[in-house]
């Protein structure tokens, strides 16, 4: 365990500090956690290995998160579309969710996480899936149909400025900028 910490070179460390919002401690901690997920023989080439989604989702920070699949999908840069994450993807994710990330970055990625069908806009189906994620997927926890409709109507009324029935990125960012809880809840700290 002590050996893995020294494998991250100083230049790489300062580069990551420059390119992300993470502090040195946080990067080293992320390195340690990422190394723990790998098999022993993969640890030497930690920077080039990709961890499959199932393993990433065993992290305690993501295990209990209803948006775990979306988070992996959004931050993964894998060419095979299998939502596997490299160490740099992992750092990207932690950077966006860190304390010092700007609200613009957070709202940008939040929009992409909430956009379940990846079409660049949040329509009523995206919103319905979002609400179901929030209230839990079990049968007894979902809202009734009429309540869901009322809720989605209210949301669109509050945020859809050009009244086209969907929320695009700028409308979303506008609504988030006036949301007082967003920055404090959109946070993952290892």
């Amino acid at each position: 365990m002590g050996g893995t910490g020294s494998q991250l070179s100083k230049e790489l460390l300062s580069e990551y500090q420059e390119l992300t919002f993470l502090t040195k401690q946080e990067i080293l901690l992320a390195y340690k956690k990422f190394a723990e997920l790998l098999l022993k023989e993969e640890r030497s080439r930690i920077l080039s290995v990709r961890i499959p989604k199932a393993k990433i989702l065993t992290l305690p920070e993501l295990k209990a998160n209803p948006f775990q699949h979306r988070i992996c999908h959004v931050f993964s840069t894998s060419e095979y579309q299998d939502d596997s994450m490299s160490f740099e993807d992992f750092l990207d994710m932690l950077s966006v969710f860190s304390d010092s990330a700007t609200p613009e970055i957070k709202s940008h990625y939040a929009f992409r996480i909430f956009d379940f069908d990846d079409d660049g806009a949040l329509d009523s189906h995206d919103l319905e899936k979002l609400v179901n994620c929030l209230t839990g997927e079990a049968e007894g926890t979902k809202l009734s149909e009429s309540e869901m409709d009322q809720l989605i109507q209210n949301i669109l009324e509050e945020s859809d400025i050009d009244k086209d029935g969907t929320i695009n990125l700028s409308e979303f960012q506008h609504v988030i900028s006036r949301s007082p809880d967003f920055v404090s809840s959109f946070k993952i700290v290892l």
């Binding site: 295990k63 840069t77 695009n168 007082p180």
Partner: protein, 760 residues
């Protein structure tokens, strides 16, 4: 619905302008009079021609470029090909454009690999001028500030504890503990101020360090009977004497640095300088009150801005709950399950509240009258309850004071009980009245959010006003005397030779009792409750349920303690130190109590509004604390037997005395500021400035509404024009195809003759 339209046209980008509205009707395209039909109706997908116009709009190109920057090297199979083809060119253009930007790299919403590429481009393009040196300095300066911030962050008190609480109970409970941490810091700073400027110089002079000597305060122009002050110190005979003295601040504690009376020093002489103790004492009092005010206001700025902007909590509450609803810090499975159910509960309650609101709006006149009468009646009951509790506190305080003065000090538990009787009654009142208020508010038929706020405000009032009643009792006791004895010294010198120390003792007792109660409740009530509920299966006990962490009540408790500290510091300079230690220990008690005994509450408490609420209540406490301190300083004559203000009529008169000793310029300035000629215009000016800003805020809100409406109208106009254009193009192409068809058929029929005419 919308899905069919989308599926029918897989080639087209998911663009906002072509999405059919969810409430649009399937009417024909030709009805232009009705604006609602501008939106494409269901079942008819976007026309190929319309979408091609959309691609050419400048605003669409901007969205396109921004989107391509987000994808980077990711190839989305869902994207249509022409969007993908625009990636190659625009991505390079984006990279080129970004290379010249001075925004920090990390603020781009792209992956690390992309950022690396941009940085390499930036470095390659960097001009080799002297500007580079400054860039290097700037970079290393930024690195230094980042490292210092990191260091300060790791040094923050209780960082790990707070984070573990956040993970298990959410950010609402966490904000309570952050508030506690803030109070520890505040009290520590107050203690440092008081100690550094008042206690330390006196201590130094008492031990003759630095060749200092002190001059005891005395006055010659007053009746000597006022200056008699004998502290009843019994020898440390019995152990329980010791404990009683420790708990009530009497006996051996009375003539110590703890209380005002011991500071009987006029001035301290260092080598060439004179240190004016009374002035320092008064100025430090004003300083710590002002410092607390500024610090609290600064901390509450964020929350206040948000609540001003959001225009009461109904506005945008749904978006806030949905988009910022999930607390990403939660790591525990059971906590996540609880969060799910609490979110569901919250959403259901909000939707229900909206329905109730609609119902209220539809109330008939008789019903409204009925409700208002009921509310007035219930408020009268509330006032009666308050009056009863305040009267009880008053009676008990009078009894306690008289008992103390009549009987000599007895070494019995009865004596201790009577000493603590006001505290006990206040605690009982603070325990019973919230229960009564909760029951009453159920009948008043308010919306749920208003109910909570109403109950909370009433509880705040009871807590803070009970201290006020105690102090009023004390004042009346101090300044009321029979047989005109007050005119001699200005206060009741028989029973209160050193009244400031007595007030200090009362505050000390309140603080000790508060601390004992908090510890006792956690250990003797919550812990057995947890054991009972877990192991005993009586229906009644199960109904009682597990303890949940009630945030508002806990906050009121510590605000109550802090108000006592603010009032008491003038009369007991070491009280902030006791408060610091007390809150320090309370943090651990509460944390252990939380982790061991409590389950997370299903009813959530928002983090943002809670921060503002805590600081608002604290501010109310501060304002209420300033009143007794002000009265004590400025109106009641300072006691002539103890303390630094013996030579002055009231504690405040030292200011006038000092000003008279300053050069004439300063005196004129001071007189000018405190005169009415200055104060009234200043007040009027402040009011004007405030009205101006209120009007400005209102105007901005109106402009915002108008712009939003305009934006919606512009969107509709654009869509209308595009459809018109598409129609025109469609009809033109139809005509040309028709023409082509007719010419072809003609050609078939008469191939030779019409060959020349075919070419258009």
């Amino acid at each position: 619905m919308a899905r069919e339209a989308r599926d029918r046209s897989p080639m087209h980008p998911r663009d906002t302008f072509l999405r059919p509205g969810p409430s649009s009707k399937p009417s024909s395209l030709e009805s232009d009079e009705d604006n609602n039909d501008v939106f494409l109706p269901d079942g008819i997908g976007p026309q190929p021609q319309a979408s091609s116009f959309l691609k050419e709009l400048p605003s669409y190109r901007t969205i396109q470029r921004r989107r391509s920057s987000n994808q980077g090297t990711r190839e989305r199979l869902l994207r249509s090909h022409f969007v993908r083809s625009s990636y190659g060119g625009s991505r390079q253009a984006f990279l080129d454009e970004r290379a010249d930007d001075s925004q920090p790299l990390r603020e781009y919403a792209i992956s690390i690999q992309q950022k690396r590429k941009i940085r390499d481009i930036q470095n390659a393009q960097a001009k080799q001028t002297g500007w580079d040196q400054w860039k290097e300095y700037w970079k290393s300066w930024k690195k230094l500030t980042d490292d210092t911030k990191e260091l300060l962050y790791t040094m923050k008190l209780w960082r790990k504890d707070v984070r573990s609480i956040e993970g298990k109970f959410g950010s609402g409970v966490q904000s309570y503990f952050l508030f506690l941490r803030f109070l520890v810091l505040l009290n520590f700073v107050m203690f440092v101020l008081m100690f550094g400027f008042v206690t330390l110089p006196i201590a130094i002079s008492r031990y003759n360090v630095f060749n200092s000597s002190h001059v005891d305060s005395f006055t010659s122009d007053i009746d000597p009977v006022c200056t008699k002050y004998k502290v009843a110190v019994q020898g440390l005979g019995y152990f329980h004497n010791y404990i009683i003295d420790l708990l009530s601040g009497t006996g051996f504690l009375e003539w110590t640095y703890l209380f005002y009376g011991y500071y009987k020093v006029e001035a301290i002489n260092f080598k060439d300088h004179n240190y004016n103790i009374p002035l320092a004492y008064l100025l430090v009092t004003l300083a710590y009150l002002l410092l607390s005010l500024l610090w609290i206001v600064k901390r509450s700025m964020e929350g206040f801005k948000q609540s001003l902007v959001s225009d009461e909590d109904r506005f945008q509450s749904y978006c806030n709950k949905i988009f910022a609803g999930w607390d990403f810090c939660i790591t525990d499975e059971s906590a996540a399950a609880l969060k799910h159910s609490s979110l569901q509960y919250e959403l259901k309650t909000d939707l229900e509240e909206e329905r109730i609101r609609q119902k209220i709006a539809e109330r008939t006149r008789t019903e409204t009258c009925h409700i208002y009468l009921l509310r007035i009646f219930l408020n009268v009951i509330v006032i009666v309850v308050l009056a009863v509790s305040f009267y009880c506190i008053y009676k008990v305080s009078v009894f306690s004071q008289e008992f103390n003065s009549k009987l000599l000090r007895q070494t019995s538990l009865l004596h201790l009980l009577v000493e603590y009787l006001p505290s006990i009654v206040i605690t009982i009142a603070n325990f019973i009245t919230p229960i009564i208020f909760k029951i009453i508010v159920n009948f008043e038929d308010y919306t749920p959010a208003f109910e909570i706020r109403c109950t909370l405000m009433r509880c705040v009032f009871v807590r803070l006003a009970s201290i006020g009643v105690l102090l009023i009792t004390l004042w009346t006791q101090i300044t009321s005397c029979d047989h005109q004895t007050c005119s001699l010294c200005g206060y009741n010198y028989k029973h209160y030779p050193c009244w400031e120390s007595r007030v200090g003792q009362e505050m000390y007792k309140l603080m000790m009792f508060d601390f004992i109660i908090i510890a006792a409740v956690t250990i003797f009530v919550e812990f057995p409750r947890k054991l009972l509920v877990r192991h005993c299966s009586f229906k009644l006990i199960q109904l009682w349920g597990q303890q949940t962490f009630e945030i508002p009540q806990n906050v009121l408790e510590i605000v109550y303690g802090q108000t006592i500290c603010w009032i008491g510091t003038f009369y007991s300079p070491l009280l902030p130190a006791i408060a610091t230690v007390k809150y320090f220990i309370i943090f651990y008690i509460k944390k252990i109590g939380l982790m061991q005994n409590c389950t997370p509450s299903p009813k959530p408490f928002r983090a943002s509004s809670s921060n503002f609420f805590f600081l608002l209540v604290l501010l109310i406490g501060l304002v209420l604390a300033c009143i007794p301190v002000g009265i004590g300083i400025a109106y009641i004559q300072s006691s002539k037997a103890c303390g630094p203000f013996i030579a002055f009529k009231t504690s405040w008169s030292i200011i006038a005395y000092t000003v008279n000793g300053l050069p004439p310029g300063f005196q004129e300035f001071y007189r000018g500021i405190t005169s009415e000629a200055f104060a009234v215009p200043f007040f009027v000016l402040t009011c004007l400035v405030m009205f101006y800003f209120i009007a400005l805020a209102g105007a901005h809100k109106r402009v915002l509404m108008q712009l939003r409406k305009q934006l919606a109208v512009e969107g509709r106009d654009k869509l209308f024009l595009i459809r018109k254009l598409a129609d025109v193009q469609a009809s033109v192409s139809k005509i040309s195809t028709n023409q082509l068809k007719t010419s072809q058929t003609l050609q078939l029929l008469h191939p030779q003759s019409l060959q020349a005419d075919v070419h258009v």
